[in-house]
Each structure stands twice: as structure tokens, then as C-alpha cells.
Amino acid sequence: MNQLQNFTKGFIKDNPVFVLLLGMCPTLAVTSTAINGLGMGLATTFVLVMSNIVVSLIKNLIPDKVRIPSFIVIIASFVTIVELTMQAYVPDLFDSLGIFIPLIVVNCIVLGRAEAFASKNNVVSSMIDGLGMGLGFAFALTLLGTVRELFGSGSIFGMKFIPGDAILVFVLSPGAFITLGYLIALLNRLKKA
């Protein structure tokens, strides 16, 4: 597999949200607006890239039996770094993402890529894999957030263009499931064509 395929697989073919259906907890919970989805996606991308790089760098130094705890410590450290940095420089976004930033630790995509890809491949491939998967995740979350914000609040990225209330259910949790379902169906249709 060349590096370009390695990078682009995260967007459509192996998209973490639409195809692998991983990381549903943040996906459904934070995507009530496009900006939240984008913020969450980029935070996860950073953690994915960094943890993939570090894991692939030290993969031979870690005995097999303690590899999962070591990976988790590495991932958790990067998540805390993201959390502190966001709290310091983008406090508003940090407030609206709230508890879901620390929860990136248990996002299965991050540990999944560390275990399934980074611990078996070299640094460059792992970094590209992390970047592709992370941006694919960010893309999916932003798309979900945009659709929900458009129908639920009548705005996109906070810019309101439908006055008054829109279809409230899209902002609430059932709207997350409905939107996700339709987007997966749409994507499957597009892939077949």
C-alpha cells in the first residue's frame, strides 16, 4: 500500500465513523454544532498522530504483555496535553466540549490504530495513518455537526440564516442517531455507484 492510499483510506474506504463505526460516544454527543464537531475531530487527530508516532518509535522496546497499559499511558498523556492547551487558549470551545475531551482516552480509534497499525509499521506510515484516520474522523464529525446544526438551529458554524427555531430533534440525541444513519446510507449508496 503506498502512502497516498494510506492517507486517504481514513476518509471514505475505512472512515472511522461511517465505515468502522468506532468512537460513537463523542460522535453522537458533541456534534450538535459544526464547530464542536470540528474541534473534537482536530483534538482527536492530534492525539492520534502523536500517539501513533510514539508507539511506532518504541514498539520494539515494549514487552508484549505490557503493551496495552503502555499505549494507554501514552495516549492519556497526549489527551491531557490537549485538554490543558485547549483550556488555556480556546476556553469557549473547551467549555462546550466539556467531558468529551478527557474521554478521547477511551476512544477506540486511538487505541485501535496504535494496536493495529502503529505497533506493526514504521514511523512515517504510522504518522500518515494517524493523520488520515484523524482527519477522516474530523471530516465525519464536522459533516454530522453541519447537518444537525443546519436542521436543528438553522445555522452553519454559528452563522444563522433561518430565523427562529428549526427542527429541534436534530439538536437532541435522537437527531444524532437519525443523521448518522442517513449519512451512512448515503455514503454506502455513493460507494456503490
Partner: protein
């Protein structure tokens, strides 16, 4: 390079090194972001005070623990040219739809609400979080010696948010808590 064997000493050493490096890195990041985080929090509070009070140039700050409350309220006494212009209270309620939320309430002349601002909340987006919109403007200028701080359903004067009566009640509860504390401070 061959993979390290999973012997006891190898595992202990690996975990020790991994956690030690992680701890060092986190310590460094914590130190680097401590200052900006404090500034960001400070700015947020100051912005909220500016929203709920008339113009001021100096603030005195103190905390009190309300009766039966689980956390302390923070009072910000604002002055302009040495004259007191009002008091902003950082107050909270535990009766929100999703637990505790924090608001800032400004009082002028002791009894009149000059404004409110939501600081932190977890209320339902689209329903309870409407308390951040013009809904809260109905409190502006109300004198609490005559204004009953309860939703109309409970016999008060406050228009509740449609489909979010619990959040509206909680909002009143937080405001009432701030007012009670102000009265207590005045009595001392």
C-alpha cells in the same frame, strides 16, 4: 531490533520508564499552561461581570458559604470613582435538568437585578440552554422586594421557557440564592 522479552524485570522497567516520561511531560505542560488558564478564567468572569453590572473601574471580591448550600458563592462588589455601583454574585443551583449550573447575577441598590449571565451549564441544547438568550432579559430591572422569583406555574412572576420549566425553576433558584446571601451580608 528484536522485540523485548516479557520477563518480569523488563515489564517493570518498561512501565516505570513510560510512566516517568509521561509524568515529566505532563508536569512541563501543566506549568506552561497554568498562567494562560488562570487568565482565561479571569477574563471570562470579568466579561460576565461587565454584562450584568453598569460601568465600573474597581472590584472587590469575597466568598461566602450559603446556608444549606454545597459550594460557596463569590461576591464582586463593583465601584466607580470610589462610589459603589452594584454587586455581582457568582451563584449556582443544584436543581438544573442536568445537575448544577453556574450563573452571574448583578444587583444594583441591593434589590434590583441589573442583569444575568450564564457561566457554566449542561442543560439540554435547544431547550434549557435558551436561558442564555433574551429569555433572561425579563429579570432585568426587577425589584426583588416585590417581584416573586418563581415561574408562573408555581405562582411567581417569571415566564418559564417552553418545555424547560425545570431549567427555568433552577435559574430562579440560583438567583434567589444570590439574593438571600446579599440580604444576609447587608444584615451583618
Amino acid at each position: 531490533m528484536a522485540k523485548k522479552e516479557s520477563s518480569f524485570i523488563n515489564m517493570v522497567l518498561t512501565l516505570f520508564v513510560v510512566t516517568a516520561v509521561a509524568a515529566l511531560a505532563l508536569g512541563a505542560v501543566y506549568n506552561a499552561t497554568k498562567e494562560p488558564i488562570a487568565i482565561a478564567k479571569r477574563l471570562k468572569i470579568e466579561k460576565a461581570i461587565g454584562e450584568v453590572l453598569p460601568e465600573f473601574d474597581k472590584i472587590e471580591e469575597f466568598k461566602t458559604l450559603p446556608e444549606g448550600g454545597k459550594d460557596s458563592l463569590t461576591f464582586y462588589n463593583a465601584f466607580k470613582n470610589g462610589e459603589p455601583v452594584g454587586t455581582a454574585v457568582r451563584t449556582y443551583t443544584d436543581n438544573g435538568f442536568s445537575g448544577r449550573f453556574w450563573i452571574m447575577v448583578g444587583f444594583t441598590d441591593g434589590d434590583v437585578i441589573s442583569g444575568t449571565s450564564v457561566l457554566e451549564h449542561k442543560e439540554t441544547p435547544g431547550l434549557g440552554d435558551k436561558m442564555k438568550t433574551i429569555w433572561a432579559d425579563q429579570f432585568k430591572g426587577k425589584n426583588l422586594t416585590t417581584y416573586k422569583l418563581k415561574v408562573k406555574k408555581d405562582g411567581g412572576d417569571v415566564d418559564a421557557i417552553t418545555a424547560a420549566t425545570i431549567s427555568s425553576r433552577a435559574f430562579c433558584d440560583a438567583t434567589q440564592r444570590a439574593y438571600n446571601e446579599i440580604k444576609k451580608e447587608e444584615g451583618q
